[in-house]
Amino acid sequence: MLTGLADLGQAYLNILNFTSLAYGLSGALLGIIVGCLPGLSATLCIALLTTLTIKLAANDAILILICSYVGTLYGGSRTAILLNIPGTAANAASCADGHALALRGEAGRAIGIATSGAFSGTLFGVLCLAAFTPVLAEVSLSFGAYEFFWLALLGVAMSGSIVGNDPLKGWLMGTLGLFVAQIGQEGLYAYDRFTFGWSQLSGGISLIPALVGAFGFAEVLTTLADPVERKMVEMRDSVLPRFREGRAILAHRAAFGGDRVLTGLMPGVGEDAGAWMSYAAAKAVSKEKEQFGKGSIDGLMAAETGDMSSIPGHIIPALALGIPGSAPSAVLMAAMIIHGIQPGPMLMIQHPQFIYDVVAMTSLATVSILIFGLFLIKPLLLVLKIRRAVLMPIIFLLCTVGAFASASRLFDIYCMIAIGIGAFFLRRRGYQMAPFVLGLVLGGLLDKSLRRGLVLSDGSIEPFFTRPISIGFATVTILILLLYIPAFKALISNITGGISRQIGRLTSRHA
């Protein structure tokens, strides 16, 4: 306990120097600018910055990436409020109430509420990050190949179920990601799989080009395919939140903070799901339900605190288990690996200080968004005036550089283009990219864990179903899949309904 606090204090001292503060602030500012630009996601921002910071020291590079991650999600609220277009998918829930407030001439107030909600949400998440990551990392040390197999499968199954409206499409994208992850030399015996004799494919499909394609090039195509360029609402009022609103933000944090961080812990459930769940929870308990969607302060606050507090929630499993919670945290995890830090159970043994460094970095990111959010509003709004015909070709240029830089292979540029075109057409048909990315990231772990487990058990699948933690993960995974079969769902509803009726009868008799 005391060692943990000492390590945390040391982590804060480590970032209190000019270079780290400059890196952190510039990362957050760049993130906010990217977030402000509709069509550019946190995943793209982190992927591009990973290549830009490849030669920096590990801690400096990760600091920039975490600050840009937090900054991008926060910056997306600007476009949601002023243009009614979410800057990132996570800000979609802020559109309705934020833009309605802006149309009433209260754009500044809406931005102020979004800023303070984002600040308090991230701060709460940081506390959870500091408290739970070391504990989860300790627990995960008892996981073996069998448990990791189920955990990886659970990630893909859950991501497919929750992201988007159609679980079938989600699972299809998840399995497509798992398939793409198997291309190239396999990890145990180094023989080629699905390469069809093409040597370029032996190295596999790298994560960064794939992500830049799926989230960068596809976004460029999506943005440019839209014939309408929206007009921005002018901001005339102050951004500083009123006392009553500040009190409401704190109350909301206390009521819903824990479950939003928990949402973040679920693999593949992105920040957008965190925002929508927070919005739904706030609406359920609100006394002014009819105001939601028409400029509700509570609604905007709930959406912003929800997406921001799930960021540390996504970082926790990425650090402790090596299982990213969302697409941006998957890139963050890839960046850590590139810089020689392997997230997962061994992190607490190999780099025990690093978890606390991440807590300090996220704290700096939180303070940065508050500073830029409240005191640098008008200059940041200029970014929204850049025309997309000018911006998008430059973004594609950066995508090309980003895809090439990590391995200096032209083949990675071709992969990025192919995946981007595929992602663009798939997204138009309602296929989400988050399960694909989770499948791509977890494919290696799933494959290695399955085969290691089979080697250890001499080909028997029994330990996958008999070890205590394995059986827990297996039950949850199988239940998630079965719940989408209508007959099984009806059966479960009947059973749970019957049980609750029995309990009701028993309690009424006692009363």
């Binding site: 079938l168 460029v220 195509l221 014939p227 015909a389 240029l397 550089v401 090439f404 540029i413 075109i421």
Partner: protein, 116 residues
């Protein structure tokens, strides 16, 4: 994947499916399709033909950005019955050259990242 694909196909199938998919605003769809084809062509020419084939990156980037801005803006102007002025073309060329040089300097010289 095969099982999930088959389930999706079975769920989606209904009589007259193809006819209903062709419905909607034909002119708007044609305009959107043209726009997508233009963007795809620009990006493919840059990513596959210009980059990594002996042309310096800054020059390839400058050509791509300038041409893309001119092509996209002239389509937008066409829709409103206007033409792109010489000044607009010169601005696009300046932005393209600036983007090519700045990105090359920032990535290659400051952050020591290799460029194609």
């Amino acid at each position: 994947m095969t099982i999930l694909g088959a389930l999706l196909a079975a769920r989606s199938w209904r009589p007259g499916l193809l006819a209903s998919a062709r419905g909607g605003d034909a002119a708007a769809r044609r305009a959107e399709r043209r726009q997508i084809l233009l963007v795809l062509a620009l990006c493919l020419i840059f990513g596959v033909l210009l980059v990594g084939h002996s042309l310096p990156f800054w020059l390839a980037a400058a050509i791509f950005v300038s041409v893309a801005i001119v092509a996209l803006q002239s389509r937008q102007r066409q829709a409103t019955g206007q033409k792109l002025s010489l000044r607009g073309i010169a601005t696009a060329a300046a932005i393209g050259l600036g983007a090519g040089i700045v990105i090359t300097i920032v990535f290659q010289e400051i952050f020591l990242v290799r460029l194609p």
